[in-house]
């Protein structure tokens, strides 16, 4: 598949066959080998077939082979005539990331670091069967979660500071959610998983703010060099998975009935429906409800983590001064207004392993951050670093206000296990001063640093392309994983 260079960090896949728009991939020349096998690029090409797609089928520099959409994929479709693709959101609806700042100096907690990680591991359920962080919810109460999102959890005391909702994408709730559109089976799966981390690449990490690149933005975000922070990466758990699964399996059998454009889709995992159709509307309502569940999930874990830290470190909440810096989604589809071909247009933006990155001055950015741009949280891997960026104006023009979401995998899980062999990744990390606890050794091997691209390379492309700019780098101190 031939890419044509159209910028320092931008490559175009020209329209061909049934592509309605070109593909556009953000990569450094040195990263091209990572897509050389063509699988991820094929998915960029396939997404360009989506009915109603506008602009381009985009991919961020953490691009890798997903299913249907590439991970790192962004696609906007016309809000009226376009298609909604559950595969363009993913199974883990509103998988996302949040960052909690504290007033503690990271190195001051070193003597109690192991105890803090152990306490977090005891408090936040992880891994297979992770459940019962809080009492299981009856269906009626769970539907309130699906409607209210993060606010449900805050009302029950799960919070960092007093203004968590102000620092959460969409205020932690999508208003169009339809709890009744979520299947009983999905409700059942979600009933006892609120406040649980999951597994795989999900994590709860204690971090140190290691380097500041943009002093003004860091000050606005409340990030100080040397401070202790907490990053949480998780999503909608079984409820979201079931919601996506139920829709996809039903759509996969009959999406072709929506017309020639749908029948022409090259991959059935891209199965989609018109936004205006009964199926499309129902999925949208259910997806938004599942997104609210994910926000509630991360909010409950926030409350649990802050309490666990306070206890483990022997500091009161008033001394800890935890506050939510921001919460971003990276598997979502949202109605947004963007400029397309020179005119404002309402579109449905699918972000599949990509993060919203709105610029300074945008009214959708929290007031406290509007002068510098929206925080963009980019987790790396548990052995190196993560980054906080700020959204730039160019992203609004070029990528529907989108940026990357993480490092992106370099190795398959199989290859990572082979490379790890009998190595004890937990011991290797401990020798470097990073405490880690997980349910199994396999997860640690699959998630080791070598399995991931260096997130710094990903972020450098994003910054070089002008989509977002570096604000701070954070390094891991302690990690819990499933």
């Amino acid at each position: 598949m031939q890419l044509e260079r159209i910028g320092d960090f931008v490559w175009e896949l020209p329209r061909s066959g049934g592509m309605k728009v070109p593909g556009r991939v953000y990569l450094a020349p040195s990263q091209l080998e990572q897509v050389a096998d063509g699988k991820a690029l094929e998915q960029v090409r396939n997404v360009a077939y989506l009915p109603g797609i506008v602009g381009a089928s985009l991919a961020m520099p953490d691009i890798h082979w997903g299913y249907g959409f590439p991970i790192g994929g962004v696609a906007a479709v016309d809000a009226t005539d376009g298609a909604i693709s559950p595969g363009g959101v993913g199974y883990d609806i509103n998988c996302g990331c949040r960052l909690i700042a504290t007033s503690l100096a990271a190195e001051d907690i070193r003597p109690r670091l192991r105890g803090a990680v152990e306490r977090l591991y005891e408090t936040v359920p992880t891994g297979v069967g992770a459940s019962r962080a809080i009492e299981p919810l009856a269906p009626k109460e769970l539907r309130r979660v699906l409607s209210e999102g993060a606010a449900w959890a805050i009302r029950r005391g799960f919070c960092a500071g007093d203004d968590d909702l102000l620092h959460c994408e969409e205020g932690g709730r999508l208003a169009g959610a339809e709890p009744e559109a979520v299947t009983p089976r999905a409700v059942e799966r979600g009933s006892d998983q609120l406040g649980t981390l999951g597994s795989g690449n999900h994590f709860l990490e204690l971090q140190r703010v290691d380097e500041i690149y943009d002093a003004a933005a860091a000050a606005a975000f409340g990030l100080e060099a040397g401070a202790l922070a907490v990053m949480i990466h998780s999503g909608s758990r079984g409820l979201g998975h079931e919601t996506c699964d139920a829709t996809l399996r039903s759509l996969a059998r009959d999406y072709v009935r929506y017309g020639a454009d749908y029948a022409a889709l090259p991959d059935r995992q891209l199965a989609c429906a018109p936004i205006s159709s009964e199926v499309g509307r129902r999925y949208l309502g259910a997806m938004q409800a599942a997104a609210n569940y994910a926000w509630a999930n991360r909010q409950v874990m926030t409350g649990l983590a802050v309490s666990a830290l306070s206890t483990a470190l022997g500091v009161g909440r008033s001394e800890l001064r935890a506050r939510l810096v921001y919460d971003v989604c990276h598997n979502i589809a949202k109605f947004e207004e963007h400029v397309v071909d020179g005119a404002p247009r309402r579109v449905l933006v699918h972000r599949k392993g990509a993060t919203r990155a709105f610029a300074a001055g945008d009214p959708r950015v929290p007031a406290a951050y509007r002068g510098v741009g929206q925080p963009v949280l980019i987790p790396g891997d548990m052995g190196r670093y993560s980054f906080v960026l700020a959204g730039n104006a160019l992203a609004m023009q070029a990528t529907f206000g989108s940026s990357c979401h993480g490092a992106g995998r370099l190795l398959s899980r199989k290859a990572a296990l082979e490379r790890a062999g009998k190595r004890r990744i937990d011991r290797e990390l401990r020798e470097r001063g990073i405490e880690v606890m997980s349910r199994g050794l396999r997860t640690l091997a699959e998630e080791m640093s070598e399995a991931y691209k260096d997130v710094r390379d990903v972020v450098d492309v994003i910054e070089g392309a002008g989509l977002s700019r570096k604000v701070a780098r954070l390094v891991p101190l302690g990690v819990i994983k499933g």
Binding site: H64, W65, G66, Y67, G68, I71, G90, Y91, D92, G127, V128, G129, R185, E188, R189, G198, S199, G200, G238, H241, E242, C244, D245, L248, R249, A252, R253, D267, R268, Q269, A271, R409, L410, L411, S412, R413, K414, A415, R439, G440, L441, R442, T443, G482
Partner: protein, 146 residues
């Protein structure tokens, strides 16, 4: 049909960057379907033993072979998540595109200590899902979202 396949069964892991895929082979479509179920169980159990304690009937609606396998595995994933059941044996009673699939599946119970190295599977995907003829036999492939 009528043959009961027991855990563990041979499979290969696919090289998929983001997720986890398995490939199995067999001399029939039914053998492939059964081995995909047992491969699924092997992933969830981390390869540790699974002692059978009960049997249940699992049904999938009519469709192509890959779609039926995906439906079966999705149902099994639900049973694992809600009841901590791990497949220990499989008998394919019926596996027909026009009439659907019916499997008699033996189950063991998940043990957090014994099965600690099991993988958390979020979903069974249709991506690259295949049951097809291959070199005189059959080959099946499923990718799981992790």
């Amino acid at each position: 049909m009528g043959h009961r396949y027991a855990y563990p069964a041979p499979y290969e892991e696919l090289d998929h960057t983001a997720d986890l895929g398995v490939v199995v082979r067999g001399d029939s479509v039914e053998a492939v379907a059964a081995r995909l179920v047992l491969a699924f169980s092997h992933l969830l159990s981390g390869g540790a033993p699974v002692a059978e304690v009960e049997r249940r009937t699992i049904i999938a609606a009519a469709g192509d072979s890959a779609a039926m396998v995906v439906d079966v595995l999705s149902e099994l994933l639900y049973l694992f998540e809600r009841e901590r059941l791990l497949p220990s044996s499989v008998e394919i009673v019926q596996f027909e595109a026009k009439t659907g699939a019916r499997l008699e599946v033996g189950f063991g119970r998940y043990d957090a200590a014994l099965h600690a190295e099991g993988v958390v599977l979020k979903a069974v995907t249709l991506h690259e899902a295949r049951v097809e003829r291959d070199n005189g036999g059959f080959r099946g492939q499923i990718v799981f979202d992790v």
